[in-house]
């Protein structure tokens, strides 16, 4: 009884005083690295966009593919991983009454492991010894140190995942029979996926290292690719789940409403955790060595993921409509006009959600065998992930940064920076629309992806792609402006904005909400089902790939 009272008092104090400085430092450090990676990755993105359009020529010592590798690595691995960890650790600290000292230690150990890993990854890339793109699968072989660096990064992420599990378990012990607060529930789902999703890629990397050192002669390329995509597709959905946490929990508070059904929210998280990892196969839909029946099964498994996404879309618009009508909106779309369009904390995630409609539709196209054959190796795919990751995920992260950074820095969002945020969002939207639409279109016309500037021997067809590539470069330039503005806003909010307390916006459940069943808290069961589904999905193709394996491939250096 006494402990509960003490805990309640502590929670109240936490809420009143804001975040504990030691917890804030963890999130601030992660956010700093994340946005520094955005700035650096953005510059590299613009560089390769201009090179691809033939507008600049890179110096001898820096190749297009090196830039592409670093761009992908910084934005797809560093930015997203650091943002996700920084955001959820702040959320865990806020909703679970402060981080435990041992969890803080784990977060710092995780950080150190990642920081040890980075130079091991980056230096070979800079030395042109690891120009294997961020997908890094064989038969292209980088310097073995590149893969060793990746191992350290994965270990760092695992340490953070375990820290989150310890924190949640401790809270549950202190709050018997209660539901874990919704943001911590999202964090649990994300960290479960981060841990289990990265087991496949860890096995892959551990088989690549002896091969890259020359201790083993060959490697099974198909198995490596399969293990890689089991991770990479999960990573995509980790970003999505992170973004969705803000949509479900934060955005309703920002607009002054209440969040949608707690039962549905938790169901969506559980469904995404269970069904996610096997989705990786749709990235291999035109790979040889996988039978059509298996591919068909995986199209189904991939499309299953769209069910919770549809639920999310419905839930979000329902929240908006309800709030809009409360504010006096009438008619079919009158409520829509009542939304706080001038508030970057709403505008950015709203555009992010809207972008997910074409983004998701494009994803369904790519999961479909025949349609994928048309677009697979073209710029369409690049357009797709710039729409999903570059817009849906990034704009949500930007939206979060305008309240999270002031919250952890004990500063406030000024109207000026809010306005800057709105301008950044608009520039980003226009830039990404130009870039993504031109990428999709030129992809349909046949322009291949992952290629530096070439005229293909002055081919007329290739020349017809040029106007689109120029539009792409214009979009990329606008995005660079967006990156600079966003990085400025983040660093300003972190170090220069006026001091003060900022709220961590968490919406309450709706009135008269039905009670959430307790089975949602049974993570052991959820993980058991997830593992069963992974076994069902992977056993048949992996056994086939290993038992009927070709001789294997020696390492190749294609650059």
């Amino acid at each position: 009884m006494e402990t509960t009272k003490l805990q309640l008092l502590k929670d109240k104090a936490n809420r009143a005083m804001g975040i504990n400085p030691s917890d804030a430092l963890i999130s601030k450090t992660y956010m700093f690295i994340a946005f520094a990676a955005l700035l650096l990755g953005g510059i590299l993105g613009l560089t390769q966009g201009l090179e691809k359009a033939g507008l600049i020529t890179l110096p001898e010592w820096l190749t297009y593919y090196q830039v592409l590798t670093a761009h992908g690595f910084l934005l797809v691995i560093v930015l997203t991983a650091f943002f996700t960890i920084g955001y959820f650790y702040a959320g865990l600290s806020h909703t679970l009454g402060g981080l435990l000292p041992k969890v803080r230690t784990m977060a710092w150990i995780g950080f150190s492991l990642k920081i040890i890993g980075f130079p091991l990854v980056v230096v070979p890339v800079l030395l042109n010894d690891a120009t294997v793109l961020y997908t890094f699968y064989p038969p292209m072989a980088a310097s073995p140190w590149f893969y060793i660096g990746l191992v350290f990064i994965v270990l760092g992420v695992w340490m953070c995942a375990f820290g989150a599990f310890v924190q949640v378990a401790s809270w549950r012990k202190r709050n018997k029979g209660q539901h874990v607060p919704i943001l911590a529930f999202f964090a649990t789902g994300v960290f479960v996926l981060l841990f289990f999703g990265s087991i496949g890629v860890t096995i892959e990397v551990l088989t690549i290292i002896p091969w890259a050192f020359g201790w083993t002669d060959t490697i099974n390329v198909m198995v490596s690719r399969t293990l890689f995509w089991s991770f990479a597709h999960t990573l995509v959905n980790i970003w999505y789940l992170t973004a969705a946490s803000a949509w479900y929990v934060i955005v309703p508070k920002v607009i002054g409403g209440r969040r949608f059904s707690d039962v549905l929210t938790r169901f969506v998280i559980i469904a995404l955790v269970i069904t996610n990892i096997p989705g990786g196969f749709h990235h291999q839909i035109i790979d040889p060595g996988i039978s059509l029946a298996i591919k068909f099964m995986h199209v189904f498994m991939s499309l299953v993921i769209s069910v919770p996404s549809m639920m999310t879309a419905y839930a979000m618009f329902s929240v908006f409509e309800r709030r809009g009508r409360e504010l006096g909106g009438r008619g079919l779309i009158g409520w829509f006009k009542r939304m706080p369009w001038g508030d970057v904390r709403f505008l950015a995630p709203f555009i992010a959600m809207a972008a997910f409609i074409p983004g998701g539709a494009g994803g369904i196209v790519q999961s479909t065998n025949q349609l994928n054959q048309v677009v697979h190796n073209t710029m369409w795919v690049v357009g797709h992930f710039h729409l999903t990751v570059g817009t849906t995920v990034m704009l949500t992260f930007f939206g979060i940064s305008y309240w999270l950074i002031p919250y952890i820095s004990k500063r406030v969002l000024t109207p000026k920076i809010n306005k800057l945020g709105v301008i950044t969002t608009i520039i980003w939207t226009v830039g990404m629309a130009l870039m993504s639409i031109s990428m999709h279109t030129v992809g349909l016309l046949g322009a291949p992806r992952r290629t530096s500037y070439t005229t293909y021997g002055d081919s007329a067809t290739a020349a017809s792609w040029d106007p689109y590539i120029i539009v792409l470069a214009i979009g990329g330039t606008l995005l660079m402006i967006g990156v600079i503005l966003q990085a400025y806003a983040v660093f300003h909010l972190m170090f220069r904005a006026p001091k003060g307390e900022t709220e961590f916006p968490i919406a309450d459940v709706e009135e008269n909400a039905s009670e959430t069943p307790y089975w949602t808290e049974r993570w052991g069961r959820t993980i058991f089902l997830m593992l069963l589904l992974i076994a069902m999905a992977y056993v048949i193709p992996l056994v086939d790939m290993i038992v009927n394996a070709p001789p294997g491939s020696p390492p190749f250096r294609t650059w």
Binding site: A169, R172, K173, K176, G177, A293, Y518, E521, G524, I527, F528, L531, L532, A535, M536, V539, I540, L542, V543, D544, V547, N548
Partner: protein, 185 residues
């Protein structure tokens, strides 16, 4: 009662010749999809029998042990490679598979699971885990075809299916041993 109707619909669906033929065309789908689904159909239909024949079940399965024994015998029988082979060759055996897994395994499992104690439930679970390991090793190591109807590669695949199922079950057992629900709920 709705659940019993769904169970019956699932049973009918599984018995449709194209569905049955498709699921039986791949060894691992035969054993790890069709057979468990038949048990699940029976499990769902059990509600009907519990409501309509309470006296019968109370008389013959009062403490749940007979039902669990029946379930275990039927499931063990269908784990024999020869039994699976026969169901593809003999119509009678195929019919017996549908009837036994649904009504002599799924149905008693549900009626018994709540009646038997924790020790019995754990024994069944761990027993099935051990059988999965044994069959997994048998199917992956055996150098010859154990079923006339399936190729060696399918047999190895099924073996790995058993082993991964056992791994999942082991993870669950470790989770249950390490984590006491009473500390959290």
């Amino acid at each position: 009662m709705k659940q019993a109707a769904y169970g019956f619909a699932l049973f009918v669906f599984l018995a449709l010749p194209p569905v049955a033929r498709f699921l039986e065309s791949v060894m691992i789908m035969h054993m790890h999809m069709q057979m468990p689904l038949l048990v699940i159909a029976g499990y769902m239909m059990a509600r009907y029998f519990q409501l309509w024949f309470p006296g019968f079940l109370a008389k013959w399965n009062g403490n749940g042990i007979p039902g669990i024994v029946l379930f275990s015998i039927v499931v063990m029988y269908w784990n024999l490679p020869r039994a699976m082979d026969e169901s593809l060759e003999l119509a009678g055996s195929e019919l017996f598979k549908f009837v036994s897994l649904t009504f002599l395994a799924g149905l008693p499992l549900r009626d018994s699971w709540q009646k038997v104690g924790y020790a019995c439930r754990s024994t069944v679970f761990i027993g099935y885990m051990a059988i999965s390991v044994a069959l997994g090793l048998l199917y992956t190591i055996a150098p010859v075809q154990l079923c006339n109807n399936y190729l060696l590669i399918e047999q190895i695949t099924l073996g790995w299916g058993f082993l991964t199922t056992a791994i999942c079950m082991a993870v669950y057992v470790v989770y249950r041993l390490m984590i006491r629900h009473s500390e959290y709920e």
